[in-house]
């Protein structure tokens, strides 16, 4: 924070150069609602959950939601901002070695922020429409690509269960071919790392922290239950924007 207050307007030029060097990941992250502008340096901030911590029970416990949001997501935000400041400084100095070295921290923490920001919107309490199957053009597209919503769920559950270690399973849209895809990413890699034209519609966090307190080592049960609070409305809106 102290560093940030030192940044003058002039140093903004350095920042935009920095975001150019650090791939489209950052520009995507910078477009998120959870970003705040503070004295020139745009940093990320933790977005509010659009529902209470306990609102997704019994599918996901309040304990998990609170830790996941307040601790895990907050840590990604904090470390992303830290890396961003270091990147800014290194860019001003023309310290290429440090700029390169920071990429992994930016990818991991920035990715963590991007992914979780989407994840919260992907979920909704049952009384607010969580779990209601997709309608409209997305529903139709799913039937075309996968046969049925059930078949898609089965496919995503299988890929999520088979994923080694930590990561995400995604329903994405290729905005050029307008095709729906199911894919997985490791650790906190956002979907865009699998293809520059991919837009995430739904992401399921299969890190152990997303389910361990409730489901322990039985990841398939978590995957089965999360669909009961899936916010298809959000996915449908994103799809609609891209395929009007």
């Amino acid at each position: 924070m102290a560093l940030r207050s030192l940044f003058s307007r002039k140093s903004l030029a350095g920042l935009s150069a920095a975001s150019r060097t650090s791939s489209c990941l950052d520009s995507r992250a910078l477009g998120l609602a959870g970003l705040s502008q503070s004295r020139g340096l745009k940093t990320a901030s933790l977005p509010d959950l659009p529902y209470d911590y306990g609102a997704l029970e019994p599918a996901i416990s309040g304990d998990i939601m609170q830790l996941h949001h307040q601790k895990h997501h907050q840590t990604y935000v904090t470390n992303y901002n830290k890396a961003l400041e270091q990147l800014h400084e290194a860019t001003l100095k023309g310290d290429v070695g440090t700029v390169v070295k920071l990429q992994s921290a930016i990818k991991f923490n920035g990715g963590g922020h991007v992914n979780h920001s989407i994840f919260w919107k992907n979920l909704a309490p049952v009384r607010e429409g969580g779990g209601e199957p997709p309608h409209g053009s997305l529903g139709w597209a799913i039937d075309t690509h996968f046969g049925s919503v059930e078949a898609l769920i089965q496919k995503m559950n299988a890929e999520g269960a088979a994923l080694q270690g930590s990561g995400w399973v995604w329903l994405g849209l290729d905005k050029e071919t307008k095709k729906l895809v199911v894919d997985t990413t490791a650790n906190q890699d956002p979907l865009v790392t699998k293809g520059a034209t991919l837009i995430p519609l739904l992401g399921i966090d299969v890190w152990e922290h997303a389910y361990y307190l409730q489901y322990k080592n039985v990841r398939p049960d978590y995957l089965k239950n999360i669909w009961k609070v899936m916010n298809w409305k959000y996915a449908g809106e994103i799809y609609q924007q891209e395929c009007p």
Binding site: L67, S104, Q188, W207, H209, Y212, L213, N217
Partner: protein, 306 residues
């Protein structure tokens, strides 16, 4: 055919016999099929190294091959319990965590491995180390790799801890650490840092780099283990692998979230500090280091005195 590593939990005894042109490896290990009580079988593997024409490996068919075909064997590797009670690491690692980690995760890897082996005629009679090296498939791991490596990693992990562990190692190991890291404090700092900067699931290792006789801290993600890093060598001369594992693991720390989440939630730092202060078994580490150093000589293998 490569060696069953002397440190591998699946290996209880390994004896090298050597003469001018031939190294024979007698590998006494847990039976590769299910038996009601712990019974050992001896599977014999002969490795021939012809100095004139390079190395060739030949595997003698196991005396149990026929029996295996005759019986409907369903399990190949057994679940090895930690060398202490499940609540013995309390309060630093709860009984609940160990029960779930060992009885759930570790068992899960093992059962999946055995299931996969039941369907695979080729990998059927391999030792755990061979399985890991072979299924690593020179950088394109086969599905079976994850399960085999995770079984090995967990066996190694349970033995890397002991009740009342932690603190500072003694004599030889401490000397080596001070020589290679400057001071124990510096080593501890580096090890903790490695554990905290691991992006995602994985392991942190203290290894002995055998060529340099130098300790180092390395990180691996998911199921990967330093054992596979000598694979390049085994490509050229299979038998060299017997005595030439480049990165000999001394200690490992599980930094998958399941290893600490019930006890420490998101606070991995607390878990890592508890490991360093109360859990890590420097006794085990000392033994592993001594054995690793005993085999550093790359000429004729040293024959350990029984």
């Amino acid at each position: 055919m490569s060696s069953c590593n002397v440190f591998a939990p699946s290996c209880h005894l390994q004896v090298f016999l050597a003469n001018d042109s031939c190294h024979a490896l007698y590998n006494l290990k847990a039976p590769p099929f299910m038996l009601p009580s712990p019974v050992s079988s001896i599977s014999l593997a002969f490795l021939f190294c012809d100095s004139a024409s390079g190395c060739t490996a030949k595997k003698q068919s196991s005396p149990f091959d026929r029996r295996r075909r005759a019986s409907k064997a369903v399990a190949y590797f057994g679940l090895k319990p930690p060398p202490y009670q499940l609540d013995a690491l309390e309060p630093h690692m709860s009984k609940k965590t160990v029960e779930l980690h060992w009885g759930g995760h570790h068992r899960g890897y093992l059962e999946n491995l055995n299931k996969a082996l039941a369907k695979d005629d080729v990998l059927y009679s391999y030792t755990m180390d061979e399985l890991i090296t072979v299924t690593y498939n020179r950088g394109n791991p086969l599905p079976i790799f994850n399960n085999a490596a995770q079984v090995w990693n967990h066996d190694f992990f349970w033995e890397s801890m002991q009740p009342g562990g932690g603190g500072i190692p003694e004599l030889g190991l401490l000397d080596q650490i001070e020589k290679d890291f400057g001071s124990f404090t510096n080593f501890r700092e580096k090890f903790v840092e490695a554990a905290l900067t691991s992006f995602g699931s994985g392991w942190v290792w203290l290894v002995l780099k055998r060529e340099e006789k130098h300790l180092a801290i390395v990180k691996t993600s998911n199921a990967f283990t330093p054992l596979i890093w000598d694979d390049i060598v085994s490509k050229y001369c299979l038998s060299r692998r017997l005595i030439n594992v480049f990165f000999q693991p001394i200690i490992n720390l599980d930094v998958w979230e399941h290893a600490y989440y019930l006890d420490y939630k998101n606070e991995r730092a607390k878990y890592v500090n508890a490991f360093m202060d109360h859990l890590v078994s420097w006794n085990t580490a000392m033994g592993r280091l001594a054995r690793a150093e005993a085999f550093v000589n790359l000429g004729e293998p040293n024959i350990p005195v029984a």
